[in-house]
């Protein structure tokens, strides 16, 4: 089966710092892949290579078999959902306009359609469609995250990139958002790449999880396997921390 996303010997440098070092992985179609590691390990860099927000210094990134370097970036990005930590909702647009943003960029939806198209999207992420006319500053943290996800899904992407999307909400909201994104993925069968620094989140959500450190792959496996056979001291340390927190 064709990989949804493939990294081939990718190296990214920021000045003297090497963010990704000869990085090669393959992400399967329809897979929920979580990427975990300490800050600065290169997880966000890897994510941003997929929609061409960054370009590799060496190597290639392929999305659905096409090298990102040869792609029309605008079109590629519109076909990939993108949700980030501080949400990046547009403060001057209503919830409706935020969610309809990507389709409106390409003129996919006309004005009259917007409302009926946004409604099911809001319902899908567990929001009351009545919120449609609100502005982001009138929403709670959890509601903002949901709007961010609805916006990322609006154009019906096959791939969804999420960079610590639940980083800024409280524990309870985070748990329910995690459950919902998992259910959503089961329903939509899209490929999700999900960056987090929370090992519990990475284990719970991922079909497979990628553990990174200093721009390298430490381990790429199913959460159960990672739990049983942590490949690196760093993973063991994270797991120990998790069990301490739960214990």
């Amino acid at each position: 089966m064709e990989a949804a996303i493939r990294f081939e010997n990718v190296t990214v440098r920021y000045g003297d710092h090497t963010a990704l070092d000869d990085f090669t992985i393959s992400i399967r179609e329809g897979e929920f892949l979580t990427i975990i590691g300490r800050s600065g390990c290169g997880k966000t860099t890897a994510l941003r290579l997929i929609n061409g927000l960054l370009t590799p210094d060496e190597g290639h990134v392929y999305v659905r078999g096409t090298d990102v370097a040869d792609s029309d970036l605008i079109r590629l990005r519109r076909s990939i959902g993108y949700a980030i930590q501080d949400v990046g909702l547009f403060p001057h647009m209503t919830v409706k306009e935020n969610v309809a943003y990507v389709p409106s960029l390409s003129g996919m939806w006309n004005k009259a359609e917007k409302e009926e198209k946004v409604r099911p999207l809001l319902e899908m992420v567990g929001l009351d469609p009545e919120l449609m006319k609100r502005y982001p500053d009138e929403l709670s943290g959890g509601q903002k995250q949901r709007v961010g996800i609805a916006r990322a899904l609006a154009a019906g992407p096959e791939i969804l990139l999420m960079d610590e999307p639940f980083g800024a909400v409280d524990e309870i909201t985070r748990r329910s958002l995690q459950t919902e994104i998992k259910q959503l993925q089961n329903r939509l069968h899209i490929t999700i790449v999900f960056v987090t620094h929370d090992i519990h989140e990475a284990m719970m959500l991922g079909d497979r999880m990628l553990v990174m450190d200093a721009g390298h792959v430490l381990q790429l496996d199913e959460p159960e396997t990672v739990r049983k056979n942590p490949a690196a001291p760093f993973v063991r340390e994270l797991l120990r921390k998790e069990s301490e927190e739960e214990g």
């Binding site: 927000l53 990939i80 980030i84 960029l105 990139l161």
Partner: protein, 215 residues
């Protein structure tokens, strides 16, 4: 009290003249604010999009802004003569700086996450400018425009000394005829005009900020 009565008498006797002066003043302001505003907006957008031009352009704008108004007017006389044109040129040169600065600051001061999201979702550079940056910068840009309007009234009134017309002429005439009531009448009118314009623009700024949810 007697003095104020004199001033009032001047307004009553010469109201058509004062109306004409206000008309001139507003005309000069409108033309020059329009020119400085649109020119400054375009330059501001350009240096926001092309950062390597930012420093040299701001340096030139700063120089114009530092020159005292009366000196600028004097420098312009050999180039474009006296009168309305001189006043307009001086105000435009003066007004470009706050406009350029505010436009650039507004456009570049937007939350990085917002721009990152807009880019990652597949906006073109133009779409980011028009749909995200400009609306979010509108408050700051409008504050710059307000600055230009008030400045245009100030500089415009000095330009009366080189035949630029407007309410400054009442002050000028009052000085040459040694008529303090006349200078006061002109000056007071200018103050009212400046405050009114500032107030109205302040209201507009508030309205826009509320509408676009910008700070």
């Amino acid at each position: 009290m007697e003095f104020l009565q004199k001033v009032l008498q001047i307004y009553i006797d010469r109201w058509p003249w004062f109306l004409e002066l206000i008309g001139e003043q507003l005309k000069i302001s409108l033309i020059s604010v329009f020119l400085a505003g649109s020119l400054g907006l375009v330059i501001g957008i350009l240096i926001a999009e092309y950062p390597r031009f930012r420093e040299p352009v701001m340096a030139v704008c700063n120089i114009f802004y530092t020159i005292p108004a009366i000196a600028l007017i004097g420098l312009l006389i050999p180039l474009i003569g006296i009168g309305e044109k001189n006043a307009i040129a001086a105000i435009v040169l003066y007004g470009i700086m706050p406009m350029v600065r505010n436009t650039c600051t507004g456009l570049t001061g937007i939350n990085a996450g917002t721009i990152d999201a807009a880019t990652g979702l597949g906006s073109t550079r133009w779409q980011i400018l028009v749909r995200i940056r400009l609306p979010l910068a509108s408050g700051v840009i409008l504050a710059g425009l307000r600055n230009v309007v008030v400045m245009s009234i100030a500089t415009g009134s000095i330009a009366a000394f080189v035949g630029g017309g407007g309410l400054g002429e009442a002050i000028y005439r009052g000085i040459t005829m040694y008529n303090p009531a006349m200078t006061f009448a002109g000056g007071f009118m200018l103050v009212v005009l400046a405050l009114t314009c500032d107030f109205l623009l302040g209201r507009l700024e508030k309205f826009i900020k509320k509408k676009w949810r910008t700070s």
